[in-house]
Amino acid sequence: MALLGNGALALALGLYVYAALAGSWGAARNSQRLQRSARHALLAALPAIATAAGVLVVAFLRYDFSLVYVAEHSSRSLPLAYRVSALWGGQEGSLLLWLLILAAVAFGAVVLNRSLLERTLPWAVPVLAAIASFFAFLLVFVSSPFARQPAPLDGAGLNASLQNPYMLAHPPLLYIGYVGLTVPFAFAMAALLSRRLDARWLVATRRWTIVSWACLGVAILLGSKWAYGTIGWGGYFAWDPVENAALLPWLTATAYLHSVMVQEKKGMLRVWNVSLVVLTFSLALLGTFITRSGIVDSIHSFSRSPIGAWFVGFIAIVVLSSVALVLVRLPVLRARSPQLESLASREAAFLYNNLLLVAFALTVLWGVLFPVLSQTVRGVPYSVGPPYYNFFLRTFGLPLLLLMGIGPLVAWRRASMRSLRRGLAWPTAAALAVGAALVAAGDGAQPAGLAAYTFSAFVLAAIVVEFVRGTRARRSLDGGSWPGAFSSLVARNRRRYGGYVVHAAVAMLAIGIAGSSLYRATTEKRLHPGQSIAAKGYSLRYLGTSFRPGANHDELRAVLSVSRDGAYSGLVAAGRNHYHAEAFFGNAVAIRTDWLRAEDLFVIADSFAVNGSVDVKVIVNPLVDLIWLAGVVFLFGSFIALWPDGREERRLVRHELAIAKVVTA
């Protein structure tokens, strides 16, 4: 089995190296035979890598502990689902998953964009192949998942934190997000190498960018939900380096998704867009590096590994070569680039949004790298904590939120004060009404929270205004019914209106974050059976402990009866799990959601004593569930935005046909 796995990986490496070399040569020499052969090599690598991944999954299912990786990340008592997810439980398997997703993404990008690729971007194949070669090289020569050993009787088990349903989806989605960003990068580099810097590479990569960005966003939220229910500290995002590493490319990809529209509509920001693509891909690589290398201390650093130096070298090559390429092509990129007509226009709003997003990303990056830099310069790894990040979240996040409401109301090219006043009237009134209501209710003590709530109300009202005005305009242009005009409005510009739904999700997220972080109530107490603890209208009476043995773990719980305003409302059980094979204790918190009050009762029980006493911490988290609901709305908006719209691709194909007609005439 190991021979088949190793051989398949070596074959994939050979195919990718060939695709990179033959593809470059074919593109430079305009040899279509070589280009096609390179493309075939890129496609053929997918079944080879899928074979290697399949071999590893089968080894997990068959308890083949003669493979070091299987023995280190599973055990006989591990449930079936986690034996499959153990594939990405360690470094070697994670790299294999990275490569498998990259192979699938490259396959899809080449096959689905064939009509555009055929004549325009033969350089995309060697760029994709060169990136994949690096990961295949690591798996074959540096960090193989198929290393063998004399088989022990049982394995060491899977990290207990990963034995969670959210961990079945979070890592693959995160990797799809990271890896998918290879496509815009490869096509941007191909456009630069081939000097074809028109809209074709943007159209070819748009859907891939949205899918990657959406997966990354959902993965961050799933990771937060996992942290909320598993880590057991009452929060969901700790500004941990690994969490930040995922946030970084998401922020710059968000900036790119906005600025690319300016290039498509106005032919502006070509240099900026290519630079954003390079930055985003480099940050995706950095994210993978931070997650897997253990270079920065993190609750997610499962191991320190020898791949760090290789990764640093690869990231350096990617950054230096792509920056050099952008510099060499600057004259072409800047040619025929029109100027901004007005500072009060949609394109200017996109520019401000981009500057804020990139500035925020850079401050987060500085915070992530600060321990490494201080270790290098001063010999001590100083780190920055949540106050640093929260300060910049408010500094850049609140203006971004406000801009998210203003931007859609501003016309392209230029907007007059009169039209701006008219557009902003309703959202401003809604925001002021919400602000006044909050102050009247006594919630005005937190300026940041008040600003987040009022700005979110402004954004939500602006979205409603946009849909209403858009539907009215569509109806006046096309006629027909109101529902017909509404569906025509969305269908004609799915990206814009899907984007507005995503804006609504971000506003919900802002309300959820502000509510749960600024208005939460916490109480902590050591309880003996029969004693009670109270928090924000809740009273919890400790009844005693319960113990339940499981297949691969035992559950110890403190059972508490909950009353709200004097009325009994049920039992909660919080405590700890003991995982046998892993010899690990994990938290098992109790979360009780009250949808009517829009708040969570979060209970942590720890330090169980033989006399029956236990430490109990109770947190009342208002509006936290709005964050998870925002995830669903975000996904819905992303689906609308990326729903295939063949019109543009057909338009470009028509251009190709027109050109072919002229050339052959």
């Binding site: 021979l3 051989g7 060939y18 052969s37 075939h40 080879a48 032919g267 009169r418 858009g470 050109i659």
Partner: protein, 89 residues
């Protein structure tokens, strides 16, 4: 033995698939005409901008005075783009 056979089969299939275009593919002519493509793009951008302007005007985002000024500029731009397409075609 079965794993070795599977690996050999995989290698041979991949090699055949990669070599196929080198021995059997008859290259077609590569039609490139960047000036025409750029002209078609500019024409489409100009026409889309006119449609967008009309929609924004109906939606109340652009007042009548601005609309009249902008529509003149964009019509001129579209006319120039159409002429360039004709010249290149």
């Amino acid at each position: 033995m079965i794993f070795v056979s599977l690996l050999c089969l995989l290698m041979l299939s991949c090699a055949a698939f990669v070599a196929w275009p080198l021995v059997r593919f008859a290259p077609d002519t590569m039609s490139t005409h960047p000036e025409l493509f750029e002209a078609l793009e500019e024409r489409d951008r100009a026409l889309a901008a006119l449609r967008e302007l009309e929609f924004d005007h109906r939606a109340g985002k652009i007042v009548d005075d601005d609309y009249r000024t902008l529509v003149r500029t964009l019509r001129l731009r579209a006319a120039v783009a159409l002429k360039t397409v004709d010249a290149n075609a």
